[in-house]
């Protein structure tokens, strides 16, 4: 293995000191002179027609500058998914109908939040309450109330980029779609012959699983500041977001101003986890009002609004039928998924596509059929959340595999080993697994949890009658970026007189440590020390395009762009050094710590400064600027079809094997996660400390969603929109944690790296559920696994 100076080293975060001292500026900290504050009036009804809105009293309230309703913005439409098949269905303020409790009805902008809140109470809205529906299954029924009956012409922002699919971007005919009510998206894919596969199977089993909506719980609330400069006609915005270029595009489309007239400024992001990538009404309205009023406008959501009106993870039901041979080899699998995406489409069609995307890379199933539905209901809107479909589908599949193994008297680990994919496999859609550490990960995780000694311990005569322990295991997969707007990441490396470098990247550090890992890539490739690197990031004006920090694109896609930019700068430096060092080929030179030296005689060297000076003098003032770019997936120009799951998905899959040991108090029904093990195949880890941090965060979030987290909704009303009643893990819930890295080398990754920040949220759910079964012999198929469900399953209540 190559000896690296910076790659793979536990280097502290470059943004650590600024965060530790409270000096890091987040969007909520931005304050501009003359700033006004906006607040929303929201629907108290899950489904109602707006008959009349009277804002006269609110407008006259002292300190109020403007009040907007849907009538002011009736032609503005946008959505996370905006394709010919799935035209945008969101509007910044409800025009005709409200479709969930919390839907934005009006916005007041005033001198202070307090004034805006008082003025909200003066707005009078007359509603006609409509019948509402709160589960996907009910919403699909023929007589269910129709939530979206508007006719919208299909359009897609991707079409602007010349990559539309089908016939000039028109929705292709899709006659086999079953007629169900409130359908917002459908994915259907099959390969092999499922019916034949079942016929050839020795054993067939079918199970259903379900998961509730969960919340992201980013510590920084959602906020936007917008400031329009009428002189330069430039809109400046500060957004707590994961992708500044995608947000700029959304704003450009909705405000109908060119992208170049919008600047998204950098701010630190206080957590995102998928929940800060959709365009939100507060962002659009802040921008629109700033343009209209010529004053800076800030809109910050309170915690209750963040819980109820931003995004949640999709509640999902999964039905799986598998046919297997006696030895555990899976011959056929038929999977049906129904996702409730709430009052608007959100990422419904994406999550049902991704449930397939995170199902099929794991087990080599020759005969496979998958059908996913996303359905409108009158619940809160659902969007991407860390793993985006992976936790739901991995929990379901690996709970099911564990059950089959039990039925057949097989060891689940052995059954998984028999079916997992390997390096070199080509997936049915054409994606290649150039690196795949599933087998090694399974062995590692099983060993670390003590699989052979701890399994079946309660059956083998546990000493403690009340406290029972068990172990379980599960697998997961995640993309490393994909083809979505702006379809690539680019980077610029600017060298300074003293030989140090500034990295310009559009990537946004949302806490995952990308400024640090990207600095390491630059330092290693260019031959400068880490303290000689300054990062300018997340700013649409200063930085080149970037995919953004979602679908785990940053390490592989942005990492490659940075590596290429560094290589470009290095090549130019070496070319300038040829003459001075009197050599005929740059192959004979190398760099380290801002010096260029002869490989054969390292004593013979010049500094970067000298080479830059030579470049300025001899190359018409060229100060040396390196640039690099990398496509979201170099093998394709197209985004994959969400509906047919056709096309290439991602350049590299990250994999993880996760194991859990639980202890169950059979008197109270409480489940304690004692130990969590994650063996992650993230390719070559750029920074082990940061990789571990990602895995810890994934495990904690996954464990929370398995054991305690749940958005309680009753008739569309969330009953626990606070940290006190929404039970996410606290320090007291921290398990013993073991992280093992399966060091594969991903050939397409920078220094062999690929995804690490999302996949491992997904395996821990099935691991815990399987461990619960191992401990007490009962299967919980509905998450979260609450004490009540345990006691019910044990027949104690």
């Amino acid at each position: 293995m190559a000896a690296y100076k910076y790659i793979g080293k536990d280097i502290p975060r470059v943004d650590g000191p600024v965060k530790a001292t409270g000096k890091a500026v987040y969007t909520v900290d931005v304050k501009l002179p003359g700033m006004l504050y906006g607040k929303f009036l929201r629907s108290p009804h899950p489904h109602a027609r707006i008959l009349k809105i009277d804002t006269a009293k609110a407008e006259k309230f002292p300190g109020v500058h403007d009040v907007l309703t849907g009538q002011d913005l009736h032609d503005v439409r946008y959505a996370f998914v905006d394709t010919p098949r799935y035209p945008a269905d969101e509007q910044p303020l409800a025009v005709d109908k409200v479709r969930y409790i919390g839907d934005e009805v009006a916005v007041v902008v005033a001198d202070s939040e307090a004034i805006a809140e008082k003025a909200l109470m003066l707005i009078e809205v007359e509603y006609e309450i409509l019948p509402a529906v709160f589960t996907a299954e009910k919403a699909m029924e023929p007589d269910a109330p129709v939530i979206h009956d508007e006719q919208v012409k299909g359009k897609s922002f991707w079409e602007d980029w010349g990559v539309a699919q089908g016939k000039k971007g028109r929705a292709t005919k899709y006659d086999d779609t079953p007629k169900v009510n409130n359908l917002s998206g459908r994915t259907f894919v099959s390969f092999g012959d499922v019916e034949q596969g079942f016929l050839k199977s020795d054993y067939i089993r079918e199970d259903s699983f379900s998961l509730k909506a969960t919340a992201h719980c980013q510590m920084e609330p959602h906020a936007a500041v917008a400031s329009y400069d009428h002189v330069t006609q430039k809109l400046n915005v500060w957004l707590s977001t994961m992708g500044v270029f995608l947000k700029r595009y959304f704003l450009s489309k909705t405000l109908n101003i060119p992208p170049s007239k919008i600047r998204v400024h950098h701010t630190y992001v206080g957590g995102a986890f998928g929940g800060k990538i959709d365009l939100f009404p507060y962002e659009f309205c802040a921008a629109y009002l700033s343009i209209k009023l010529g004053r800076p406008v800030k809109i910050e959501l309170d915690r209750e609004e963040v819980f109820m009106t931003t995004r949640q993870r999709h509640p999902l039901t999964v039905n799986i039928k598998s046919g297997v041979k006696k030895n555990g080899k899976i011959l056929a699998q038929d999977i049906k998924v129904i996702a409730d995406n709430g009052g608007y489409r959100g990422s419904g069609p994406v999550v049902i596509f991704l449930c397939h995307g995170f199902s099929f890379p794991i087990y080599d199933v020759p005969n496979y059929r998958y059908e996913g539905f996303s359905i409108y209901t009158n619940n809160s809107i659902r969007g991407p959340q860390r793993g985006h479909g992976a936790p739901q589908i991995r929990f379901s599949i690996d709970s099911h595999i564990d059950l089959i193994a039990r039925d057949l008297g097989l060891d689940p680990v052995q059954m998984m080993l028999k079916n997992v994919r390997h390096e070199g496999d080509v997936l049915p859609n054409g994606d290649r697994l150039d690196s795949c550490g599933l087998t090694e990960g399974l062995h590692g995780a099983a060993n670390a949890i003590g699989w052979n000694t701890k399994r079946n311990q309660s059956k083998n005569g546990s000493k403690n009658e009340r406290l029972k322990r068990g172990v379980g295991i599960s697998l997961c997969a995640m993309f490393s970026g994909a083809m979505y707007y702006p379809f690539a990441s680019a980077a610029i490396v600017k060298l300074h007189d003293d030989g140090s470098a500034t990295l310009f990247t559009g990537a946004q550090d949302i806490g995952q440590g990308s400024y640090t890992t990207l600095s390491q890539v630059l330092a290693e490739e260019l031959g400068v020390d880490l303290q000689d690197i300054h990062v300018v990031a997340g700013d649409t004006e200063l930085c080149p395009i970037d995919l953004g920090s979602f679908l785990s694109a940053t390490a592989l896609v942005t990492g490659n762009a940075v590596k290429l930019a560094a290589a470009d700068a290095k090549r130019q430096l070496l070319e300038c050094a040829l003459e001075i060092l009197e050599v005929d080929s740059i192959e004979k030179l190398d760099t380290e710590s801002k010096k260029i030296f002869l490989k054969k005689d390292p004593q013979k060297s010049i500094t970067f400064s000298q080479a830059i000076q030579a470049s300025v003098f001899k190359r018409n003032g060229d100060p040396i600027v390196g640039k690099g770019s990398y496509k979201g997936y170099p093998r394709t120009d197209r985004y994959p079809s969400l509906a047919k799951a056709k096309g290439l998905f991602t350049g590299a899959y990250g994999f993880a094997a996760q194991a859990a040991e639980v202890e169950i108090d059979t008197l109270t029904g409480e489940v304690r996660l004692v130990k969590a093990v994650t063996y992650h195949d993230c390719g070559y880890p750029l920074n082990k400390n940061i990789v571990e941090g990602q895995l810890h965060g994934c495990v904690s979030m996954g464990a929370g969603q398995t054991l305690s987290e749940e958005v309680f909704l009753e008739n569309g009303q969330m009953f626990n929109p606070s940290f006190l009643s929404y039970r996410l893990p606290l320090s007291l819930d921290t398990p013993e944690s073991v992280e093992g890295l399966v060091n594969t080398i991903e050939p397409s990754g920078p220094f062999g790296a690929k995804e690490v920040g999302e996949g491992a949220v997904a395996g821990i759910l099935g691991a815990i559920a399987n461990a619960v079964h191992d401990a007490i012999g009962v299967r919980i198929k509905e998450l979260p696994i609450t004490p009540e469900k345990i006691l019910r399953a044990l027949g104690k209540i």
Partner: protein, 157 residues
């Protein structure tokens, strides 16, 4: 009603005019522009707004500003020296205990208060002490490890 209060902020005496209904968090962030103290929930549940009141951690979002008359407040802006970070900040960074950083100011102050009271806390005591500070990024593991290593350092000293 407005009134002027006097208190010690990060070692310096401050006079500020505040409203009776203003919280300490609002006064710090909006009147004094000390935005290192974060507003995560404004309900006393997340701990992002933790400051030290006479050395003890409190939720500044639940504390009316008028209540701090004559008392001493330390915010994250008062923790580091001019030239160097405080050992708690330094160790948090070195041990990977910082991710998005939004909980970090509150977490650092809670840790300072814990170590001032108990120089060698057990793992259970550490978990208890920071149980009012929510972190969604880290699963708490590296935060707990950082605090443990600080305790060990103090022990050696």
């Amino acid at each position: 009603m407005e009134r002027t209060i006097e208190f010690v902020l990060n070692g310096e005496t401050k006079k500020v005019t505040v409203n009776d209904n203003q919280t300490l968090l609002e006064v710090l962030r909006e009147k004094l522009d000390l935005t290192g103290t974060k507003k995560g929930c404004n309900q006393g549940e997340c701990g992002a707004c933790t400051v030290l009141l006479d050395g003890k951690p409190i939720n500044s979002c639940l504390t009316l500003a008028v209540r701090i008359e004559g008392r001493s407040i330390m915010t994250i802006e008062g923790v580091a020296g001019k030239e160097s970070l405080d050992p708690v900040q330094e160790t948090f960074n070195e041990k990977g205990a910082i991710q998005c950083g939004f909980c970090t100011p509150g977490m650092v102050l809670t840790t300072k208060a814990l170590l001032a009271e108990n120089s060698n806390p057990t793992s259970a005591e550490i978990k208890e002490a920071i149980s009012g500070n929510i972190c969604r990024c880290s699963g708490y593991i590296k935060i707990i490890e950082a605090i443990q290593s600080l305790a060990e350092e103090q022990e050696v000293m």
